[in-house]
Amino acid sequence: MTSTFKLSASALETVFAALGTGGWRILGPTEQDGRVELHEVKSPSQVAGQYLQSTLSAKEMVFPKVERLLSYKMSPGQVDLKDHEPDLQPTVLFGARPCEAAGFGVLDKVFNWDSRDKLFSERQQHLTVIGLSCTHADDACFCTSVGGGPGSTRGSDMLLTPLPEGGYLAEVLTAKGEAIQALAPAVFEPVDGVDKEALLAKVEPAFDREELSAKLPGLFTSDLWAEQSLRCVGCGACAFVCPTCACFDIQEEADTKQGQRLRLWDSCGLRQFTLHASGHNPRNIQAERWRQRIYHKFSYFPKRFGEAMCVGCGKCTRACPVDMNLKDHLGQASGAPDHG
């Protein structure tokens, strides 16, 4: 159903204005003190210029860092439960990189594979993604190794690719994308003969994901994981910035009369993640936790869902305080000799 148009810079301003009038909230990457993060914007002029990626991922749009699951009031012999019904506003995520946009599809598999997660699904329904193709990449990027690409349309409702002369090539990809187009149909100009590929960043594949996944079961007892994770400090930053990491904790916040139950981001890299109350810890050392991170994303998840739990954005590499490079580590595993 893809239809391709040209959108001039001023046309984009018209679209933003129409979204505002229509009651939409727009979140886009903005630069503050040299750091790019998603914030509410009203006009394209507020959006960061030549940014590579935001530091944090956009997953918070559908899977907030902290989300209330329920609340309750307590009195002697009685508990009154209250469901959490968030008041959601139609939201446009503008400028999501194709890797970020693809991350939503991975999260959807986690949250809706067996039973539907109500809170996640409602946020997903309220979200429209306007992706922005990459015209440059850095050494941490490896989207093309995990099935993505700098101009991949997956997860976007509309994908914009910057044109050298200014403005964008606009691919309208879904019904949600059409709804945006319908807000200002006149500014979507017909276009012909644009070579989109030529406009995109070049990201050379670093390894073959399917080969890696086939190899991992044989590397489980390899020393590789200890070697790679010797310097890992177990801070969990990689999981917090990751567009696909979805492991969560559930915690209580309460006083003696009332409380709420919260869902919070968590990480398999943290020691407490699997720690039993008895003191027993199934993954007792950091090497085992690093291995779990790699295996969950590149072995277990692909077996269940047919794709890696990774979009190759490289955010984890950029955020790591001890410079662990996921692309390099995966490449190393991919080329490692088989282990008994």
Binding site: V79, F111, D249, D266, F273, H296
Partner: protein
């Protein structure tokens, strides 16, 4: 979209509290809402998340049998924040329960077989659900035997039920305590569970073994059963990994390709051998 919030627990009234052992209690929980009670169904082997409102949720098995309707029971040791808070509850207090989650012990596939239960310490509760379920469907199975051990006489749980099983002709019970854990009037065996199983040398013919206990007991019991001729597909156990959601999303119980909360908690040894030993 008529999705339901899966994190909303049932409200349950603590109907009866039994002190089992030091810091170990059994709660009988009844649904506050009779409609929920009528629609509630579970299978033996399944688990749930129990809330102490104000403190949080903790995961443990349903220790009662699905043949006993109208309530569920759970047995827990007060060791963490939530279980310690649950332990302060009194009869009439309200707690939360969500579930049932996970797979089940395949009782239907066990028809016509001998059942050998081997449990250690606080790991009898998950097997107690199975044992009562089988006793309530007694004619479907051949011999039912139970080997149960704890560190000391005081640490044995379900003491009243152990006495009841001892008196029943249709179940063979051997109770043992670790050396040094006996009291002067102790008439049961003294010895570690694997040692006692080795002495009893149960016949593997047409028999399934259901084993649950602390890691050290499992470590020595499973090879022993294999030595006695039990195939890895006729040895069952149940895992209690840490869990938060209970339904295959939070990632905490992920062990190899398995979500313990979805694909388990009940596994055969054959299935377990294909997973990394991260449990």
């Amino acid at each position: 979209m008529a999705d339901k919030n899966p994190y909303l627990p049932y409200l349950m009234r603590v109907a009866k509290i039994t002190e089992e052992a030091p810091a170990v209690k059994t709660f009988r929980l009844e649904f506050v809402n009779p409609e929920e009670a009528a629609n509630f169904e579970f299978f033996t082997g399944q688990f749930g998340l129990y809330s102490s409102f104000g403190e949080g949720e903790s995961t443990f098995c349903i220790a009662s049998s699905p043949t006993r309707k109208g309530y569920i029971e759970c047995t827990f040791r007060a060791v963490g924040r939530v279980t310690s808070s649950l332990a302060t509850k009194e009869e009439g207090d309200i707690v939360g329960f969500r579930g049932p989650y996970g797979n089940l012990f395949p009782l239907d596939a066990w028809r016509g077989k001998n059942l050998l239960f081997i449990a250690g310490g606080i790991a009898l509760p998950p097997l107690r659900s199975v044992i009562w379920n089988c006793l309530d469907r007694r004619e479907e199975f051949e011999n039912i035997s139970v080997v149960y051990g704890a560190r000391s006489v005081a640490d044995l749980v379900y003491k009243h039920e152990l006495r009841e099983w001892e008196g029943r002709p249709d179940i063979d019970l051997v109770v043992t305590v670790d050396p040094g854990g006996e009291t002067p009037d102790w008439t049961g065996k003294v010895g570690f569970v694997p040692t006692v199983v080795e002495q009893l040398a149960p016949n593997c013919a047409n028999t399934v073994a259901i084993v649950c206990g602390p890691p050290i007991m499992i470590k020595f019991t499973l090879p022993l059963l294999e030595k006695l001729g039990f195939g890895p597909d006729s040895i069952y156990t149940t895992l209690e990994n840490r869990m938060k959601c209970g339904h295959g999303k939070c990632g905490r119980c992920n062990t190899g390709e398995s979500y313990v909360c979805k694909d388990g908690p009940v596994y055969t040894l054959e299935q377990l051998q294909r997973l990394p030993a991260e449990y």
